[in-house]
């Protein structure tokens, strides 16, 4: 089936509406909410902090632990049974790998930076939204970082290369490829790349380039969220 126009009317290089806020969970050392369209992710960072059991400790530098989960009432369909699934464990792992390249953990031997990601509402692009939220939360927590990381899904529907596939597009009856992509801001280097579906090499490269370009908007939103937190604090209450 051809796909000349997007189901929700967006342009092919247009993401859904983005909303980002930092410092939303006071008890955490850093936190953020990141929304893209109807997908909402919360991230909380605790650390650097004590790490037990001891055998997990790395005497050279701190480690990062990511735990990703969908809240039971978050999905478009049935209730999601709480607890880690194979899918959520894999997402936790690739999220960790997406963030590691920018983190400076040498200052924290034997300690851990815990990142918890939970989503109250999902509509595709969940791991990408989680990475965006986690990146803001890590900066909010004062973790030394070379740069911010942002992520968005790219891919193709039929012959169209596009960004930020929503649930209906992922489920489209035709040739679909869903490519979650995470990128480091300044360099454009890629820290997460996965693919689900079928795609030709040329389309994939185009999709990635399109993603890198589109993510500039996401970085702006992340920066704004962090700076806004400190502009609204203080002054008139």
């Amino acid at each position: 089936m051809a796909y000349p126009k997007r189901l929700d009317g967006r342009k092919f290089n247009e993401t859904r509406e983005i909303e980002a806020k930092a410092g939303v969970i006071k008890r955490a050392d850093g936190s953020a909410m990141f929304r893209i369209g109807k997908t909402v992710a919360y991230a909380a960072v605790y650390g650097p902090r004590n790490l037990y059991p001891k055998f997990l400790q790395n005497p050279r530098e701190g480690i990062v632990r990511v735990n990703y989960a969908m809240m039971p009432f978050s999905s478009k369909g049935e209730r999601v049974r709480p607890g880690p699934s194979r899918r959520s464990k894999e997402i936790s792992m690739v999220t960790e790998k997406a963030l590691l390249p920018v983190l400076h953990l040498e200052e924290f031997p034997n300690a851990v930076v815990d990142v918890f990601i939970e989503l109250p509402q999902t509509d595709a692009g969940t791991r990408c939204a989680g990475i965006c939220a986690a990146s803001i939360a890590l900066a909010d927590a004062g973790i030394p970082m070379k740069d911010l990381v942002a992520a968005v899904s790219v891919g193709r529907v039929d012959e169209q290369v596009l960004v930020d596939l929503n649930y209906d597009e992922e489920a489209f009856d035709g040739k679909v490829a869903d490519v979650p992509l995470a990128v480091v801001q300044r360099t454009g280097h890629i820290s997460l790349l996965q693919m689900d579906g079928e795609i030709e090499k040329g389309q994939l490269i185009n999709a990635i380039k399109l993603g890198q370009e589109t993510l500039k908007k996401v970085f702006e939103a992340q920066k704004k969220a962090l700076k806004e937190k400190y502009h609204t604090e203080g002054g008139e209450e």
Partner: protein
């Protein structure tokens, strides 16, 4: 007596708590409906900085054999590690289980939902309601906040369209759940000779005993005593009175459902 407890009592003798409140003052209460558009019903509740989400998911199942003409209700709670450095990942620990069960009893025993109206075919087909509470920020009193969030989420719920035996998620009818009561949980803490409500985290670390009283229409529908200390009958009477009075004030924040 430990330092924290004696500090708290020193303040309570002057009716002052660590955040300047008087013993029976509640923090600012916020109730927001529909925070998860994929849930059949959902709500966010804040008491000051304490924040919890609750969401409702409905499905079709077979009624329990001992109640063939009723739908079923299940309450689950997650003390999310996002919300406090004290919470860990993993299966629900006893604190989470207790919270879920106390919230459950409050709703179930108050007969908040007319379970008979949820039955579609006696002994065969009925609506199953799952209430899930997820804590977002622990600044004390997660229990009362969770109970209120669960109730608000129930009020926000619309029943999804049913096609034969298939639930058409995302296609909500205009039909709300058959709710008959609004049970409100109020936890009263005893510290020294003083009683307080809506505790802060430090107060939850220093109390002797507490009593959660869930009430509706002047009737007590659930209770739970907590803490390592004991209560006298006089204490319990006082705490029930406090619980009922505060429940009235809190219930006002549940106006509306959208």
């Amino acid at each position: 007596m430990n330092r924290l407890k004696s500090q708290i009592i020193k303040g309570l003798e002057q009716s002052l708590r660590f955040d300047g409140r008087k013993p029976f003052d509640w923090r600012k209460i916020e109730v927001e409906y529909g925070i998860s558009k994929n849930a059949e019903g959902s709500a966010r509740v804040k008491f000051g900085d304490t924040e919890v989400f609750a969401g409702i998911k409905m499905s079709i199942g077979k009624p329990y054999p001992d109640r063939p003409e009723e739908g079923a209700l299940m309450v689950d709670a997650e003390l999310s590690p996002m919300s406090s450095p004290e919470f860990e990942t993993g299966p629900p620990d006893i604190k989470a289980i207790e919270l879920a069960r106390v919230v459950d009893r409050g709703i179930r025993e108050a007969k908040t939902i007319d379970m008979k109206k949820l039955c579609l075919e006696k002994g065969e087909k009925a609506w199953m309601i799952s209430i899930d509470v997820v804590t977002i920020n622990d600044a004390g009193n997660l229990l009362d906040a969770s109970s209120l969030a669960a109730l608000a989420a129930l009020k926000n719920t619309k029943i999804p369209r049913l096609e034969g035996n298939e639930v058409k998620y995302g296609e909500l009818t205009d039909e709300a759940l058959p709710l008959t009561k609004e049970p409100i949980a109020v936890t009263v803490l005893k510290i020294g000779n003083h009683f307080i409500v809506d505790p802060l985290v430090e107060e939850e670390e220093a109390f002797e005993a507490k009593l959660t009283v869930t009430t509706t229409d002047g009737i007590i529908c659930a209770m739970q005593k907590g803490g390592d200390g004991v209560l006298t009958v006089g204490d319990i009477e006082k705490m029930i009175d406090i619980g009922m009075k505060k429940a009235e004030e809190i219930r006002k924040h549940l106006k509306g459902s959208k």
